[in-house]
């Protein structure tokens, strides 16, 4: 599905990512775990085309996408939910969800895509006519993910979907994401704490100072005390 191969990314003069590689297979949930500043968001923003790797490749279903503009990458099938949720405050919840059905008319019919978005997070239905600023942090995260799903992408890219949420609301978001995997989409999640990694995660990558220092099943990561020291703080 998605294959990132040895990318090096610079922001101005700083070398942020060093030979980062990762793979996400069809219908797979993969987590990229690392501390703040380790390079998670930079990796995801490079995949989404906001940043260009100096060397290396990013491929989606065998097609190179690095160097393409973000809107093309989105239309090729990557749905993005950023850490700050990126809700359009001037639009209602319904308009936020519908927007990608106008920009990417191909794929499933619009009505079905919108229905799937609400089915994953049923709570959003009640807020359909509300605007972004009237929502809580958790509702914004859900809307952001639902909106990415309405694009009808092959794969969703979620940057810290549990960040800043109260423990009471985390299960609802986590169940929604599990629901999305059942619909057949792959998911790449960035997360700063290994305790928040959902149990349905197949594979884990740990990033530290711009380098991948671990790749494998979550059980193996738990067994490595050096890793849990880095990403296991504050459960």
């Amino acid at each position: 599905m998605l294959s990132v191969r040895e990318i090096d990314v610079y922001i101005q003069a700083s070398h942020i990512l060093r030979r980062v590689s990762l793979e996400v297979g069809a219908r797979e949930v993969v987590c990229l775990v690392g501390r703040n500043g380790a390079g998670k968001t930079t990796t995801l923003r490079t995949i989404m085309g906001y940043l260009r790797p100096r060397t290396g490749r990013v491929e989606l279903q065998g097609r190179p996408i690095h160097g393409r503009p973000t809107h093309e990458i989105a239309r090729l099938g990557l749905g993005w939910a950023p850490e700050d949720s990126g809700i359009f405050p001037d639009l209602t919840v319904a308009e936020n969800i519908e927007i990608s059905t106008w920009t990417r008319p191909e794929g499933r019919p619009a009505a079905e895509r919108i229905e799937r978005a609400y089915r994953v997070f049923p709570g959003l239905r009640r807020y359909a006519a509300r605007k972004g600023p009237e929502m809580s942090g958790g509702e914004r995260k859900m809307l952001s993910i639902a909106r990415a799903l309405a694009l009808d992408p092959e794969m969703l890219v979620l940057d810290e979907p549990f960040e800043g949420l109260s423990p009471a609301i985390i299960p609802a978001v986590s169940e929604g994401i599990a629901e999305i995997t059942k619909l057949g989409h792959s998911i790449l999640i960035a997360e700063s704490n290994i305790h928040h990694v959902p149990e349905y995660t197949r594979r884990l990558y740990v990033i530290e100072r711009g380098e991948i220092i671990f790749a494998g099943p979550p059980e193996d990561a738990w067994r490595d005390p050096a890793l849990t020291r880095i990403i296991g703080s504050a459960a």
Partner: protein, 295 residues
Amino acid sequence: MTQHVVNVLLSGIFHASILFLVAAGLQVVFGVQKIFNLACGSFYALGAYVGVSAVGWYTGAGGPAALFVLPLALAGLAVGAVGVVVERGLLRFVYDRDETFQLLLTFAVVLMMEDAIRMTWGTSPRSTAGLYLTYGQVPILGAAVPVYNLIVIGASLAIALLIGWLLTRTAFGRIIRASADNREMAEALGVDMRRVYATVFTLGTALGTLGGALVIPATAAMSEMGIELIVEAFAVVVIGGLGSMRGAFVGALIVGVLRSIAISVYPELEMLLIYLIVIAVLVLRPRGLFGGAAA
């Protein structure tokens, strides 16, 4: 007395209608592209000259005088296409630069357009000679009001409603508002920002050129008219709030009517009065009456 008041008010509202078109163009471009487009005044002047030429060509070809407003408005809208050239040819190279740089570039466009207009149409004022009263005048509370003024006021109101409908009720408008809110997020939802920018800038340009074309039967086209209007449009935007369409509407009404009152009471105060209000708004309500809304 009422006759005088009606005259002053209606000529103020006529001027406000023109000013609204130009300011609306300025606002939509600022709202989405975050560029303060000084060249909106030049587009206004260009629309005026093209309007004069179109009407001249139309009457020369024997077109009935009663329909002159059609070629005038069509020419005004059509020349808005120059917006694509300016946006794709110049502006797109400075989106990532500092605002000062963008402002300087649009000011360069003002100077270039002024010279281009002088080279094409010469330096003496041009007018549509005599067509202004083609539609006659109607008495309103004792005042004789040119019907043409009422047509322009009606057209401008219709355009204001159309813009409102476009921005709030159509998919295109929602995409525009999303792009104004958060450009990066809109891109990740499949919005091609190059197309949005080209479309929005052309729309903004066409509003300015249409304003210039519509004003021309009532006045003469002069090469400095662009600069004068930029100053007034700037006042409208400060009073109404940067980026807000409602602000453009109310701001244009305030500036247009006050200017008209000043001209009739004490002409020397025309610009001074407008600037006193601009200063008052900047001091008391720096974001303008409707500041903060995106589009």
